[in-house]
Amino acid sequence: MASGNKLLETVSVTMCFGGLTALDQVTYSIQEGEVRGIIGPNGAGKTTLFNVITGELKPTSGKIFLRGKDITRFTPHIICQEGLSRTFQLTFIFPEMTVYDSIWVGVNSRARRPWNPIILAHHAADISQKTQEICHLVGLEEKRNELASNLSYGDQKILEIAMALSTQPSILLLDEPTQGVSPKEADDISEVIEKLSKKMTIILIEHSMDVVLRLCHIITVLNEGRVVAEGSPDEIRKNEEVQRIYLGEIS
């Protein structure tokens, strides 16, 4: 089913919770290097799609392929090792660990023996260096010794992205990275995402149309668990059904 150039592909994925169909025959694919957006009203199934792809939920039916490999039944940590990483909508961090250590743990997961009980953690030079690079890349270098819980909400969102990055993924799934932050912080975050988009494949769930329209090549619209439209930002803006969904939501 899966062809070679598709990095990630879902084939008619359906997810039911009891009587509720959260995802209905979603077929979706993304190619290497693309930056894709997923939008849709609340309850459209965006986060559920992420949960299914990352292995947190097992789909009721359908298959998921990463580089042509069937990952439908894999556990989250294996999927992460396969090079797929995600962030969470509500910050999901290590409150009582420093920024540096939080990122360090992710980088360490790629080490040859991540569980080494004998060496001192901060003596592994390659891991320290990589951690430092990521701190620098996302702009948290000066705050690297702060406890994660002491960061501002915007910085926590950035840390969230940095932690997802730390496992060195080839595809990054971002779940509403600018939700609930100030406009200034949202700018910082989209700047980080823009930087990343030059290096890796990204799928971005967003409520804020500004961010999606600015960053994404192709946008997919989900509504009630179905893909209702897919296309370039311009096409999506003109699409009547999308307008109806969004206007309908407002009224």
């Binding site: 940590h77 992460c80 009582e96 743990v105 080490a111």
Partner: protein
């Protein structure tokens, strides 16, 4: 690039001076204490190992086990059986106690670590109950409530022969194990493995999404914890020179939790403070008031009211802010 985030890592790290002072005091006290007090301190040091071992499980990976009496008792009987039936020396018998702890922790861990929170607490409590009942009922094997007495062979280290019957020897024997245990566990806590344990405590699900098999790491922590609890049980059996079904009693599941909470979860040496406070309290207050446990509870509540991080956790966080 030289990034040493050592002094901020984890933030619950025990100040080294505290450990050094504590151990030095113990070394000095061994020489000056009167007999009765020395035996009390010997017991405390054994409990310190149990408290520290338990802290790996509860403090580092946030698994609140009620089953550690199984490992404590298992370790004690590892010593008792190996000396009685296999006629081994004192030091080899300790290896048997570690082995017993390891095997029991693997068995209990493989089943219970899959579960989290309340379910984990309940299943470890069930394991405790099963082992306690078995130890009580299989009197032909364990001696039941009366227990089995030991005759200890003397320890020969090179040309020196030591007898654990001598209280002073016993004291420093236990102290050596306490110091070694601390060095091993402290090293582990600061290694990559320790960092992973702490991140599991902080947010288990997120660790999974960073590519770690959380079950495996929780099991590792559980086993390390079980092995050190068994060491503690083994030393206790050697010190008392007997083992009984009492070593499996609920006391040994509950006390570690209390020690850790009072002293400071996840600090390794913090629970030592808990041990000292509780042991002194038990020793002196129980002498003049039968219902001392009520006072006990109030003090625990007061300490936790002031700081949820326990005494050492409170000191550490005050120092940092």
């Amino acid at each position: 690039m030289d990034i040493r985030s050592e002094n901020v890592a984890g933030r619950r790290e025990t100040p080294t001076y505290f450990v050094i002072i504590f151990l030095l005091l113990l070394v000095l006290m061994g020489m000056v204490l009167p007999k009765g007090a020395r035996s009390l301190v010997t017991h405390m040091m054994i409990f310190c190992i149990l408290a520290m071992g338990y802290d790996v499980c509860f403090g580092l990976t946030n698994q609140c086990s009620l089953g550690h009496a199984v490992f404590f008792g298992g370790g004690a009987y590892g010593v008792v059986f190996s000396i009685l039936h296999l006629k081994v020396g004192v030091l080899p018998s300790i290896f048997f106690s570690l082995g017993a702890g390891f095997i029991l922790a693997v068995i209990v861990g493989l089943i219970s670590v899959r579960l989290t929170e309340a379910y984990f607490v309940i299943i470890t409590a069930i394991f405790f109950a099963v082992f306690h009942l078995l130890a009580m009922d299989l009197t032909w094997l364990t001696g039941g409530d009366d227990g089995l007495s030991l005759k200890l062979p003397s320890v020969s280290l090179g040309s020196v022969t030591l007898s654990l019957y001598h209280p002073m020897v016993n004291y420093y024997f236990v102290l050596t194990f306490l110091a070694i245990s601390y060095l091993i566990l402290n090293r582990m806590a600061r290694s990559p493995m320790g960092k992973i344990f702490v991140s599991i405590r902080e947010n288990e699900k997120r660790v999974q999404f960073l590519g770690y098999n959380v079950f495996r790491y929780k099991l590792m922590a559980f086993i390390v914890s079980g092995v050190f609890s068994a060491l503690s049980g083994g030393l206790y059996a050697l010190t008392l020179r007997y083992g009984s079904a009492d070593f499996f009693s609920f006391h040994w599941s509950i006390m570690p939790i209390v020690w850790c909470l009072i002293g400071g979860l996840g600090t390794l040496a913090g629970p030592w403070i808990g041990v000292v406070i509780m042991s002194l309290f038990q020793y002196y207050v129980s002498a003049w008031w039968t219902y001392y446990l009520i006072l006990f509870g109030i003090i625990i509540l007061l300490i936790l009211r002031i700081s949820r991080k326990g005494i050492l956790g409170y000191v550490i966080s005050r120092r940092l802010n």
